[in-house]
Symmetry: C2
Subunit: 141 residues, 2 copies
DNA sequence: CTTGGAATTGGAATTATTCCAAAGAGCCAA
DNA sequence: TTGGCTCTTTGGAATAATTCCAATTCCAAG
């Protein structure tokens, strides 16, 4: 498990980008940290409303985008289904269970990451790689 | 370069799924083979209209989906941008150039593929992996 | 205080894709 | 050949996720 980041991290990261730590941003981020099940924007919206009943969906989209910009959160896409959000900052792949639709984080050892980057011919300069598995998880995690 | 598949392959693959080889399906497939630049459905639509001026966009979507089902074509998604289509059946990754938006195929040696699959903990049974690079290509291919 | 930029909000707009019902085509049996 | 059956195509309406926009609201600094 990734240890939860200390709360000053949000404020700090936002400040680094010249942005403010608003209640909306804080609650959205804490919601992501609390339940790391890769929720969609709509799901985040529903969870955040418990604490901020008047928040708007547009704000949820705005804040999620902001958190992604600040690299506090990763946006995860699977085919054309709604974008999901993930506060796991360590290098990891995603496993998409075809039956349940659930998404699992799969830790990526640096060695594998290095190996994968080897496949690029010269002339290709990658700033990031994304690895997504699809299949069946008979798992409890 | 992947050698172009012989034309009977389409008919055969369709027949295997109990489907017919219609002019629409044939032209769409040939358009994909002719220019392998990962076109979107709209782009395929535009190209196909040169040969079949009365084809509809719905048909393009239908046929592309059919070709994907028959495993003659791969659907490629990058973030939430429109789905692109690719007749390269060999195992390969995609490189997405951030400047130009172009997509390149990157051949995946079986060894690397095997290595990547190693990262899955027991209990995860993957039927496919997708690897996508993002970055800059100073390339001519 | 006041004021300017940042942030939020609700609703309209956009966009890719799917849905749907009607018309068209191909093929087999009578 | 003529139905009749199923598969396909078609155009347009519908859907769904996301973005846009203009109007507040919120702060933070002077």
């Amino acid at each position: 498990m990734t240890p939860p980041l200390p709360p000053e991290s949000l404020t700090q990261r936002l400040a680094d980008s010249g942005l403010r730590a608003t209640p909306q941003r804080e609650v959205i981020y804490s919601v992501l940290l609390r339940k790391r099940d890769h929720p969609t924007a709509e799901e985040v919206f529903a969870r955040v409303k418990a604490e901020l009943p008047t928040i708007s969906l547009a704000t949820v989209y705005n804040c999620l985008e902001t958190l992604v910009q600040c690299e506090l959160v990763r946006a995860v896409n699977f085919e054309r289904s709604p974008t999901r959000y993930c506060p796991n900052l360590r290098p990891h792949a995603h496993f998409h269970d075809e039956q349940t639709g659930r998404t699992y984080d799969i830790d990526l050892p640096p060695a594998v990451l290095a190996e994968v980057n080897q496949v690029l011919p010269s002339g290709f300069d990658a700033s990031s790689v994304e690895i997504t598995f699809r299949g069946q998880a008979r798992n409890a995690s």
